[in-house]
Point group: C2
Amino acid sequence: MRIALDAMGGDNAPEVNLQGALEAAEAWDCEIVLVVPKSRLEADLKHFNTRGLPVTIADAPDVVGMSEAPVEACRAKPRSSIMVAAELHAQGKVDAMVSAGNSGATMTAALFHLKRLEGVSRPAIATVLPTLVGRCVVLDMGANVDCKPKHLYQFAVMGSIYAQEVLGLPNPRVGLLSIGEEEGKGNELTFGAHELLKASSLNYIGNVEGRDIPFGRVEVTTCDGFVGNVVLKFGEGLAEAVMKLMKDEIKKHPLAILSTLFLKGVFRDLKKKLDYAEYGGAPLLGVNGVAIISHGKSNVLAIKNAIGVAAESVRHDVNQKIRQILQEPNPEPVKTAPHA
Amino acid sequence: MRIALDAMGGDNAPEVNLQGALEAAEAWDCEIVLVVPKSRLEADLKHFNTRGLPVTIADAPDVVGMSEAPVEACRAKPRSSIMVAAELHAQGKVDAMVSAGNSGATMTAALFHLKRLEGVSRPAIATVLPTLVGRCVVLDMGANVDCKPKHLYQFAVMGSIYAQEVLGLPNPRVGLLSIGEEEGKGNELTFGAHELLKASSLNYIGNVEGRDIPFGRVEVTTCDGFVGNVVLKFGEGLAEAVMKLMKDEIKKHPLAILSTLFLKGVFRDLKKKLDYAEYGGAPLLGVNGVAIISHGKSNVLAIKNAIGVAAESVRHDVNQKIRQILQEPNPEPVKTAPHA
C-alpha cells in the first residue's frame, strides 16, 4: 500500500511531516510518497534521511498557502503539493492521500482529481471527537453548508461505515443532531432526514442534542456542515478559553501553584484523551478515493495517525461498503404523526 | 414596580423560588407577585413568611410540568402558574414575568397573553454567556428553528439594545455566527443576513466563528434558533463532560487528590465566572412585555438575578427602544461581490 503525504501542508510543515512520514512508514506497514518541492530537499532539507524506510519522493514545485482561496489556488497551482498528491491518487499511483494543509484546498483537489464516489450526492468531512466513553464520528464538519434531508442520510451511512470499519465500533448508534430528543423537535431539514433515517437499515436512535456528543450517547452524529462547523469551532474555543481561565486563576492563588505539581499526571492523561492528534485527522468521505484532512496544527503524532487512518480506510475498503449501501434503493420516508 | 414570579417553575420549585423572591424583593427595590396554588401555601408551604418584604400572592391552582408539550399544556391549563403570570402581565397588574419552568410553556404563555412587540417578526430567546473578557448575548437560542435573513437582523437589533441597556455594554459589537470570518463563508441564510446587518446602524463587525464567542470578540451574536440551541447544549455538555473527566482522572492519581486542597479557591472563582446563575436568565425579546426564562436548574441566586434582569429591562424600557429602531425603514441590502 502506498500513501501520498502532502509534505508542505500544515503550520509545522515540512519538518513534522517528514518526521511523521518516517514514523508512519515504520508503524503502519505502508509506503509513503512524500510530495514536496525537490528544490527544498536539495536546499534546506538535504539532511533528510529515510533511514532505509519505504519513503519515496514525488516532486511538486508549488505550495498552496493556508489562507489562500481554495478553488482559485488549486486552479492556479496544478503542480502544488496538494494537487499533485490528489493527482497521484487519481492515477492509481497511490492508494490514499493525506494533507494537513489548507483544508478547503485539500477538498478541492480531492474532488477535482478523484471525483465523487458513485451514489454519493455530497462528500462530507467527518471528524472523530473523543467522548466520555469512547469516540463519536460527527459529519458534516463544513463541506456542505446548505443540505437536504437526503444528504444527512448519506452522511449517516458514510459515518457508520467509517466508525465500524476504521474505528472498529460494531453496530454504531447513529443520532440526528437536533434541538431536543423528541421526534417533534427540529427544523425542516431534520424532520425530513428523520424520516429517511428511520426507514434505513442503520442503527438509528433518533434525535440527539449537543450535549449527547461529549457524553457519548451515539457513535455517529449527522448534521449539516454549517451546524457541524460552528459546533466544532465553538467546542475548540470553549475548551481553550476554559483552560486559559483556569491557568489565569491558578496564577492568582499562590497556594494553587503548588497544586500543579500534583496535577501533572492528570493533565498528561487528560491531554492524551482529548488530543485530536490521537485521532488522526478527518476523512473526506464520499470521494472516489481516500483523502484524509489533518489538523493545520498537526504535530508528528497527528501526521503519523492520519496516515494510519488512511491505511485502515484502504484496508477495510470503506468506499466499496459505502457504494454498496448507497446503491440500495433509497429508504422510503415513513409517514408519522405531524410535527409540532 | 411589580414582577410576577412563577413559583412552581423549575426543578427546585417552589422552595428556591420563594427564597429567591424574598432576596430579590430585598435587593432590587421591587414588589414580587408570587404565582402559586393557594392550596400549597395552606398545606406544605404554610411556614412561608414574607418577613415584611413586598411579596404578595396570586393564586394559580394548576402547574405545567417540565416535560409537558408546551402548546397543549398551556391550552389545557389556563389557570396554571405560568399562564396566570403572563395574564397578570398582559392585564397590566405586573410589569414583568419570570419563570424557571418549562421554557416552551413560558414562551407559549408569553406569546399568547402579551403578543409580539410591534415591528418584531419573531421573538427570540437571548442567552448571556460569560466570555474571557466579559459577556456575550447570543440569540436566538431555540425559539425559531427556520429563520429568514430579516429575523437574524431583528435578533441583532434586540440583542444590541439588551446588551446596552441591561448589561451596560456601550456600543456592543455584533457578530453573525458563521463558518469563517470572510464575507464569502456561510450559508444562504447568513449571506442574506450579512447584507442587512452591513446596511444597519448596528456596530456590526461581520461574521464570527464559534470560537469567537468564548473569547469575547463580540458582545452580541445572532444566529438561527436551531444553531443557537445546538451550540448552547453542546457547550454545556462539553463543560460538564470535561469536569467529570477531570474529577475521574484526579481520583486515579493519589497525589493529585492533595492538589484539590490548593485548588479550592480557584474552583470557587471559576465557578462564579462560569455560573449561569450569575447571569440571571434568558429574556424572551420581542414580546410586548418583559418575560425572563430562567434555567430549569435555577437555585436561589439564579431566581434572584432573573428578577433583577427583569427589573432592569423594565427600568430601561428595552421594548420602547426596540420598537423605535425596528420602526425605522428596514436597511437596504448593500450589493457586494458575489459569494464563493
